[in-house]
């Protein structure tokens, strides 16, 4: 079965089409053949650990750097040949808030309005409008260096919206924010798409964030997209669902483990009396219930739930996302991947993370 997840509306033209993007910095390969297709009017999440190539991808698409090879078309224009036109369509909010700290909130936005060709009164009006929208009116005349992290991020987002872009790049919009500011930011992003009809490409290290915001997610690792689809589809693809069974009688635990292993073909994980395993076929649930019933085991708890995105990343790369993000971890180290405590179903034990990359992405 081949699912083309990203195309929901066959009539909509994609906002971004990237093919085979490669970017090297000396010995380091930041992008190793990235293909993307982002439909207009959606939120697209690039999910991956630090150094996976998310920011480099955004910088290529926002015309800041040229790829060594590959092409990218944004809003119908080639990012290299028609860079100026692409810049007229996009807004960029960088990983580190890129407002001028010395300027006030108003001045930052007026500067951008003026650069975009607004008259001084127009630029001031637009600045006031955006400051109000992002609840920054009170701080409008204070230098940005006095802003809190959340305020600064909102100002940065406002700055990228001065020119009413069709397409917005949000590079790690909530990194370093406290949970409350993060939730506010999420609401803002939802409004951008829902109310303003902007297409958003966001990068994040937070699996939850991609799950919350994105219509489609591309999982990036070592400069490659190793999986792509809607959050639910990704979960289904990768082992997908987690089955958990807890017998009432502790003595039955061993029998439950054997039964689950037999039916799912996986090595179940045991936590106390809770037996869990990742499954791809939901039909295993009634099968297990029947078998345990026949064996006279009373089941106290049985659940089948979608895997978390953490589990998805683990399943795709053979190592937890946290490990991948920590510096100094050699991701290709077999000891690292082989030792991953997965208890995953249906996946032959392979130590090579690339072996799990679906063949279609290895172009």
């Amino acid at each position: 079965m081949l699912l083309d997840m990203t195309v929901r509306d066959p009539d909509s033209t994609p906002a971004i089409v990237a093919e085979g993007l490669v970017k090297r910095y000396g010995e380091t390969t930041a992008l190793d053949g990235v293909d993307l297709r982002v439909p207009a009017g959606t939120v697209f999440g690039l999910l991956g650990p630090n150094g996976a190539g998310k920011t480099t991808t955004v910088r290529v698409l926002a015309t800041l750097i040229r790829p060594d090879s590959g092409t990218a078309v944004v809003g119908g224009y080639d990012v290299h040949r028609d860079a100026h036109r692409v810049r007229q369509l996009v807004g960029l909010t960088g990983q580190y808030a890129s407002v001028d700290e010395m300027l006030t909130g108003t001045e930052n936005l007026v500067m951008i309005g003026r650069l975009l060709g607004l008259s001084r009164p127009q630029a001031k009006a637009r600045a006031a409008e955006l400051l109000a929208e992002f609840r920054l009116s009170d701080a409008a005349s204070r230098p940005a260096k006095t802003f809190s992290g959340g305020m600064r991020r909102r100002l940065d987002l406002a700055a990228s919206l001065v020119g009413r872009p069709r397409l917005l790049f949000l590079d790690e919009p909530t990194t370093g924010l406290d949970p409350r500011s993060r939730n506010e930011m999420w609401d803002v992003v939802r409004d951008l798409v829902g109310v303003h009809g902007v297409t958003v490409l966001l990068t994040t290290q937070y699996l939850e964030e991609a799950d919350q915001l994105a219509d489609d997610i591309a999982v990036v690792d070592h400069g490659r997209i190793i999986a792509q689809g809607s959050p639910d589809e990704l979960k289904k693809q990768t082992g997908a669902q987690t089955l958990a069974v807890r017998p009432v009688d502790r003595a039955d635990t061993e029998l439950v483990v054997t039964t689950v292993a037999e039916i799912t073909g996986a090595a179940p994980e045991l936590a106390g009396t809770l037996v869990s395993a990742q499954v791809t076929d939901p039909a295993v649930l009634p099968a297990i219930v029947r078998r345990l019933d026949d064996a006279g085991v009373t089941v106290g708890e049985i659940t089948l739930r979608s895997s978390s995105l953490d589990e998805v990343f683990l399943s795709l790369t053979g190592r937890p996302a946290e490990d991948a993000a920590s510096p100094g971890t050699d991701p290709a180290d077999p000891a690292d991947t082989g030792g991953a405590p997965t208890g995953r179903a249906g996946e032959p034990a392979t130590d090579d993370p690339t072996a799990r990359i679906p063949a279609a992405t290895r172009s």
């Binding site: 100026h84 036109r85 500067m111 650069l115 792509q228 992405t361």
Partner: protein, 281 residues
């Protein structure tokens, strides 16, 4: 196995490209570039309003220098403070101007490291505007500092003994020289990892270069081996030219020397700086 990855059809990548959305002009006109430069110069200058320390830095510091040199060293160097003021004011203008060119590199590096440059470059503006805006703003500050020095000098008793045209020429020459030297500053600003390092560079190169010249003292008072360096130092040529245009002394030769030096410095460092700028941004 099920694959859920979305890859593009291998055939006809062009056909897959979306239709262009309506957009503005395909490129920046020279007039736009000037507008962008003006806005970005404004951006650098308006910061002074919120950062009075900067005002202190480029206004009070040169005045301090002038007062210290005139009243602390003046008597010892020239016998009288007023004689020394006449000799040293052109030199202090030169020294301060050269030193202030470092601000260009510091400012650019700050923009780079703070991510302001990424924001600016994602906008549909002239690629040169962030650099040009910074340079224009810094030249405006230079002009301000020179006027302050001449103003305080006047109060202390310094008089332009040539004429208004020569005085304007002196200021113009110093500014032109500063513009050429600021390419070195831009280059350093593009190469170093943090703004503070631009200043370290300044202290190790520009500080000795301005002091081992005749900006503050007559060349003839120095040991012979040092005189040899002082005589070929471009700062000496510029100080002599400024002195000649503001007070008295030879004009033509030092002005030509200064202009040649300025042209030479720009010819070497402007391309290097622009290349570094393009590579870094």
């Amino acid at each position: 196995m099920t694959t859920l990855t979305t890859t593009l059809p291998e055939q006809a990548p062009r056909a897959a490209a979306p239709r262009p959305e309506p957009a503005g002009p395909p490129r920046v006109t020279p007039l736009d570039a000037l507008r962008h430069t003006r806005t970005l110069a404004w951006r650098t200058l308006v910061q002074i309003k919120h950062n009075p320390m900067e005002l202190l830095d480029f206004s009070v510091q040169p005045l301090m220098f002038l007062l210290l040199f005139t009243y602390v060293f003046g008597g010892a160097i020239s016998g009288s403070t007023s004689d020394y003021l006449t000799f040293a004011l052109p030199g202090i203008i030169v020294q301060n101007t050269l030193f202030t060119t470092l601000n260009t590199g510091t400012g650019l590096n700050t923009d780079l490291t703070k991510g302001v440059f990424d924001r600016l470059r994602s906008l549909p503006i002239a690629r040169s505007a962030p650099l040009a805006g910074r340079i224009v703003a810094d030249l405006a500050k230079q002009l301000w500092a020179i006027c302050m020095l001449l103003g305080l000098g006047y109060i202390l008793g310094f008089r332009v003994e040539t004429g208004p045209l020569q005085a304007v020429a002196a200021v113009g020459l110093v500014m032109l020289f500063a513009l050429c030297v600021s390419w070195i500053s831009v280059l350093v600003g593009m190469l170093v990892s943090e703004p503070e390092k631009v200043m370290i560079f300044g202290f190790t190169l520009i500080f000795p270069l301005t002091f081992v010249s005749n900006a503050f003292v007559q060349t003839s008072t120095m040991p012979g081996w040092l005189q040899a360096f002082v005589k070929v130092n471009p700062v000496t040529a510029l100080a002599d030219a400024t002195r000649g245009l503001l007070v008295s002394g030879p004009v033509a030769t030092p002005v030509w020397h200064a202009l040649l030096w300025a042209a030479g410095i720009a010819a070497v460092f402007a391309p290097l700086a622009v290349a570094a700028f393009k590579r870094r941004v």
